[in-house]
């Protein structure tokens, strides 16, 4: 196995050169249908995009590129859509490449991300943390690093999987293989693509709150959301058990038992709704 430090450099170099991420074919089809339908509103389109981390990243990247708008300011799909408009979105979708091969297994990663987005939004609303939609976006994007692994480092990704099955904890396995974990990989790509600082910090620190600097509360929130959705069991990530709780979260953002109960009560119907979407995805991929 290569030296992790060398590998880390190589990974970062490859991410820097990454031209784009491929999208799930059914999502593209659905989006096209929605766009062609004159009755659909920008909000409806945004709502669909918010369920796919790849298109969301694309839309945010475009709206934040210095050439078109205000770098590092646009944090939600809704905002981005106001800047870009339908015609540009159309072009964005035409130029999107799609996943050639994707297994049902991989779709579970989408499922998990949508779940975390929903949960993060619920906690943000409850704890009155500003712009719940932005927090939800961070939830959606938190495992972007894993998508990068899946696309650009398929073999290494399989190697991580094997090690996890052999009993190595996920983050450790990633560090052994990549010299960098998925949280940092995702954050690094988001930084390359000019996404807002708050989103980047949340994604970067979602397993390790010592990386939280300016937005500690938001970071702790995302850490909880990831944990809760894993605990509930929705979609699946490379973790087959609960990721470890970072104790720092408890002092940064206190949640009482009754609050946690309320979160799960609110989460349940949302997950149920989202299930329709992801089941449809899986069916179309068959």
């Amino acid at each position: 196995m290569a030296d992790p430090l060398e590998k880390r450099k190589e990974v970062k170099k490859k991410i820097r050169k990454l031209e784009g991420l491929p999208t799930l074919p059914p999502v593209v089809r659905k989006l096209n249908a929605l766009i062609e339908d004159e009755r659909s509103s920008l909000c409806q389109i945004a709502e669909l995009i918010e369920k796919d981390q790849v298109i969301t990243t694309k839309v945010l990247r475009l709206a934040n590129s210095a050439f078109y708008g205000f770098p590092r300011k646009v944090a939600t799909v809704q905002q981005a859509m106001m800047l870009l408009g339908i015609n540009v979105l159309k072009i964005l979708i035409i130029t999107s490449s799609i996943f050639e091969i994707i297994s049902k297994e991989d779709v579970k990663l989408w499922e998990h991300s949508i779940g975390v987005a929903a949960c993060a939004k619920i906690i943000a609303e409850m704890k009155e943390i500003s712009d719940p939609q932005e927090i939800a976006t961070a939830g959606l994007l938190h495992d972007l690093g894993k998508i990068i692994q899946l696309i650009a480092f398929r073999e290494d990704y399989e190697e991580v999987r094997r090690r996890i099955q052999g009993g190595v904890p996920l983050l450790k396995a990633e560090l052994e293989v990549f010299g960098i974990d998925h949280a940092e990989m995702g954050a690094f790509l988001m930084y390359q693509w000019n996404l807002p600082d708050r989103l980047i910090e949340m994604v970067n620190s979602h397993h390790d709150l010592s990386r939280a600097k300016k937005f500690k509360k938001e970071c702790a929130l995302l850490h909880y959301a990831d944990l809760f959705v894993q605990a509930r069991g929705y979609g699946e990530t490379t973790y087959h058990r609960l990721p470890p709780l970072d104790q720092r979260a408890l002092s940064i953002l206190k949640l009482t038992p009754s609050e946690i109960k309320e979160i799960f009560l609110k989460l349940e119907p949302r997950l149920y709704e989202l299930k329709f979407f992801t089941e449809e995805l899986k069916k179309e991929l068959d």
Binding site: F67, N87, I91, T95
Partner: protein, 310 residues
């Protein structure tokens, strides 16, 4: 010229002669990226637009239309789209909507040198037309961004000056906008002469309205501000009625609609020193400038203020 400073152009041309010859000569002066799949071309334009695109008309019509749409949608006036065609293509090119968005056409029979020169001329023309302020002829926001970005990386300590007029809105209301335009034009002249008489290593741009930006060596910045202010004060009487001049202030309604004594026109300059590594983004400089501006604006009359924070 290092590859970093070269302007980037995208080429969508067939993989054969004479185009291979074109590519060779264009590479001398430009950073050239070739594309063969329309999808890749469009995606790259979307996320990192070049300065110009040379597109072979007969290759792919659909992508070409999308490209034009993109230019229109984003008002990408400074993105040059140049079409390559032969005699037959010339006859087919009649759609006014396409013509409106095109910047030039080249012929498959042109020599490589001609291609390079035409492209250069086209790019210069575009910067002039699309960016310079129509009133003052000074470089506008696109050039300002470029100059500022370059300044952030400069080895020599520089200062960025933000210039604007106090009570210009009142003046415009009282004297009419064409008189206002005269003041702007004259302020531009004062800035231009003062700055470039002192150093050739400088930049002056017109943001819009009564807002200007200049970039000069830090060592000369304060002297330039003093000169500009002095010249402006000397010239000011030429723009004022005798009545206002004698009285020493305007009488006009303030924002609440109450008649008040309002000070005469004066010029404010906020200076932000820029040394390499201090700022990462242009936005940080203008944020600083805004803070400094609010200090200058509180002082009566014409003033400059230099940001001395690290």
């Amino acid at each position: 010229m290092s590859n970093k400073e070269k302007q980037e152009i995208f080429l969508f041309l067939p993989r054969r002669k004479p185009y291979t010859e074109w590519v060779k000569i264009l590479k001398e002066d430009f950073k050239v990226k070739r594309f063969y799949k329309p999808k890749d071309l469009l995606s790259s334009i979307l996320f990192s637009p070049p300065q110009a695109i040379i597109y072979h008309f007969q290759l792919e019509r659909r992508a070409f239309e999308t490209l034009l749409q993109l230019k229109k949608n984003f008002n990408l006036v400074s993105l040059a789209i140049i079409l390559v065609l032969d005699e037959k293509g010339l006859e087919e090119l009649s759609d006014e909507q396409i013509l409106q968005l095109l910047d030039d056409i080249l012929f498959t029979t042109s020599t490589p040198l001609e291609i390079k020169l035409r492209l250069k001329i086209c790019l210069y023309r575009l910067t002039r037309i699309s960016d310079n302020n129509p009133l003052t002829g000074l470089p506008g926001n696109v050039s300002i961004m470029l100059a500022m970005t370059k300044a952030l990386e400069s080895e020599e300590p520089l200062a960025v000056g933000y210039v604007d007029l106090d009570n210009f809105k009142i003046y415009n209301d009282l004297y009419g906008f064409s008189a206002g335009d005269e003041v702007i034009k004259n302020l531009a002249r004062i800035l231009q002469t003062t700055i470039f008489e002192k150093t050739a290593n400088a930049f002056l741009g017109h943001i819009g309205g009564d807002d200007f930006v200049f970039i000069v060596p830090l060592s000369m910045a304060e002297e330039i501000c003093k000169d500009v202010i002095q010249k402006f004060n000397i010239l000011l009487p030429a723009f004022l009625d005798e009545e206002d001049l004698k009285r020493g202030y305007f009488i006009a309604k303030d924002r609440q609609g109450v008649l008040r004594e309002i000070p005469l026109l004066s010029v404010s300059i906020a200076l932000v020193p820029v040394v390499k590594g201090k700022f990462k983004h242009v936005g940080e400089v203008s944020e600083r400038a805004a803070q400094v501006k609010s200090v200058v604006k509180k002082l009566p009359g014409s003033n400059y203020f230099i940001d001395r924070r690290a």
